[in-house]
């Protein structure tokens, strides 16, 4: 039916050079531009949203810090700042961003190939399947990580007012840079979490082989890892410091507090009632009718009690960022390596 023939194939196969890596740039772009556009749209929406919210927040903060603290109008301004953008205060909403990137950009890379059967085409091309997998994952991982890194700069700007050490005396909200929902939105941690979520997604897609269940698994695995990291791992990055001072800055991350007397353990947490009645029977009454923690602590220390606090000082913020970024990067490399290995040995 056709007289068209395939031209004679060149016979210089002996020194076989692989297909150049750079060819995968076009392939990856062409095949994932919709997913990347989706990520860009998601990030763009987050940028606009956080930008507008951030302008409000910074405006409210400027107003609250500029007013005369004694005036009643100032109390309103302080309340206004404290309640601005309630849904963003603890940072948990924005934790969704890496999770969604992992699920929507990471999972389909392999799951869609396996689900639709196109891997039979792709993995039999001359490029070689492990090289194809590695090139694709590395390119996409770099793209989403870079985008996340840019986004975290915006987040740092947004949360800046909460980290001012002068906030507490003015009754303005103050947060520790170590706060569970905020630590991983800033510095290098956010980009590292995005990379980890992407890698989890890629591996889940390879293991589960179907897009939608793999997306669900990715979201679950990411949430589990983030919870464990925030609540269990992070406090152990460096040995906490010990202090007997009664007034730590609000930026410090307090791990534990306990009291000793004469070098022996007395109690942990709140002082028992009998002790207070015995030692501090008529304490200075605080503004709410109850003695404040500081007043009690001063009273107890006058009676020979010592308060011990183990904590992470704010100066460790960047070391903690690098530690978290480092192990997440190592984990991501491991996950991507595992994915490539699985691709190589997968039985079709």
């Amino acid at each position: 039916m056709t007289a068209l023939t395939v031209p004679a194939r060149p016979r210089h196969d002996t020194g076989l050079r692989p297909v150049p890596w750079r060819r995968m740039a076009w392939v990856t772009w062409r095949q994932h531009r919709i997913a990347l556009a989706g990520v860009a749209a998601l990030l763009g929406a987050v940028v606009v949203w956080v930008w507008i919210a951030g302008l409000q927040l910074h405006h409210a903060y400027a107003a609250a810090t500029a007013c005369n603290p004694a005036s009643p109008a100032c109390a309103d301004l302080i309340t206004t700042f404290n309640f601005t953008n309630n849904f963003l205060v603890n940072g948990y909403t924005l934790q969704l961003v890496p999770a969604l990137i992992g699920a929507f950009a990471g999972t389909p890379v392999l799951a869609r190939e396996l689900e639709t059967g196109t891997f039979r085409y792709t993995w039999t091309q001359g490029f070689g399947r492990w090289r194809w997998t590695l090139a694709k994952l590395v390119l996409l991982a770099a793209a989403v990580t870079a985008a996340a890194a840019a986004l975290s700069v915006l987040f740092s700007w947004y949360y800046q007012p909460y980290f001012n050490p002068g906030n507490q005396p003015l009754n303005l909200s103050e947060a520790s840079p170590f706060a569970a929902g905020l630590f991983d939105l800033r510095g290098v941690a956010f980009a590292a979490w995005t990379l980890a979520a992407f890698s989890i997604g890629a591996l889940a897609g390879m293991l589960i082989r179907r897009v939608v269940p793999a997306m669900a698994a990715t979201l679950a695995a990411y949430a589990g890892l983030a919870l464990v990291a925030g609540n269990v791992l992070r406090q152990h990055y460096m040995t906490p410091m010990l202090t007997t001072t009664l007034n730590l800055p609000g930026s410090a991350w307090i791990m534990n507090q306990w009291w000793t007397k004469g070098g022996e353990f007395a109690f942990a947490g709140r002082p028992p009632e009998y002790l207070l009645e015995q030692l501090c029977p008529a304490p200075a009454v605080g503004p709410l009718g109850k003695p404040s923690h500081e007043t009690l602590a001063q009273c107890l220390s006058q009676h020979g009690y010592t308060q011990w606090t183990s904590y992470q000082p704010v100066s460790r913020f960047w070391p903690f960022q690098w530690i978290e970024g480092g192990w997440l990067l190592a984990l991501s490399v491991l996950l991507i390596a595992a994915t490539v290995w699985l691709v190589c040995r997968r039985a079709a």
């Binding site: 297909v19 060819r23 891997f119």
Partner: protein
Amino acid sequence: MSMNVIETSSLDKRYGRTWALRECTLAIPVGYVAALVGPNGAGKTTLLNLAVGLTVPTAGGVTVLGGRPAGSMAALDGIAFVAQDTPLYRNLSAADLLHLTRNLNRHFDQYYAETRLGELGIPLNRKAGRLSGGQQAQLALTLALARRPRLLVLDEPVAMLDPVARHDFMASVLTAAAADGVSVVLSSHVLAELERVAGYLILLSRGRVQVAGQVEDLLATHRLLTGPAAEAGRYAGRPVVHARRVEAQARLLVRATAGDPVPPGWQAHPVGLEELALAYLREPGAAALPGPARGRDAHTSEVTK
């Protein structure tokens, strides 16, 4: 040239507790359109997946194109594979798929591919998912041929096609094989196509190679004997592959050449490839394999019915 395009030795492949291939040893020589035939579940797809490196064997080895390990970059460079149901990226246009394939391979003949799609009337800007089944198969074949492979592996290429598309597709394959010297290995359970196409036949049954050889040789060494049904049980001249009765007449497929004597009362006829394949498919115990170990004589089966 004595190169084998696919060579397996004692190849085993197990999925869970099911054996897809058992002790499969075969050598498909270069320069043929080789047909891989067998009932569903015989291991055809498994064998082809092993040859293109999509699957790793449980035991034994596969090499392609004269000793290259299956799945290695050197092997993939010379093989083009069109899988069952011709999976393509449905949301990519034909032009994108050409570009994609070009980027993923050392050799790609863009002019050939575009000209061929033009001749077939497949618009370059149409998405693969919107092409008809026959056009998708032709597009997949074009992508494969434009890579200038030395071996073209097709897994059930025409199973989903209507008769016209099936005919056109096979004609394209034959052109490539005849004019360009591409060796072809294709699996199919459409026996009727094979007569026209295949120069080499491999018949798989329950994961084992039952028949392997050049079609010419196979046809020259088998004869169809017809005679009275009552005599069928007493025929003892040459090994019988399969016996069948049609009313009072017995039809025996025997391993015999044109020169072999025909007993009195019997008539010898040349056999067609479809009939030969059918006879072996109905007798999974019978085998016709090349090589000195097994010899040219068939393992005969009981005369049934």
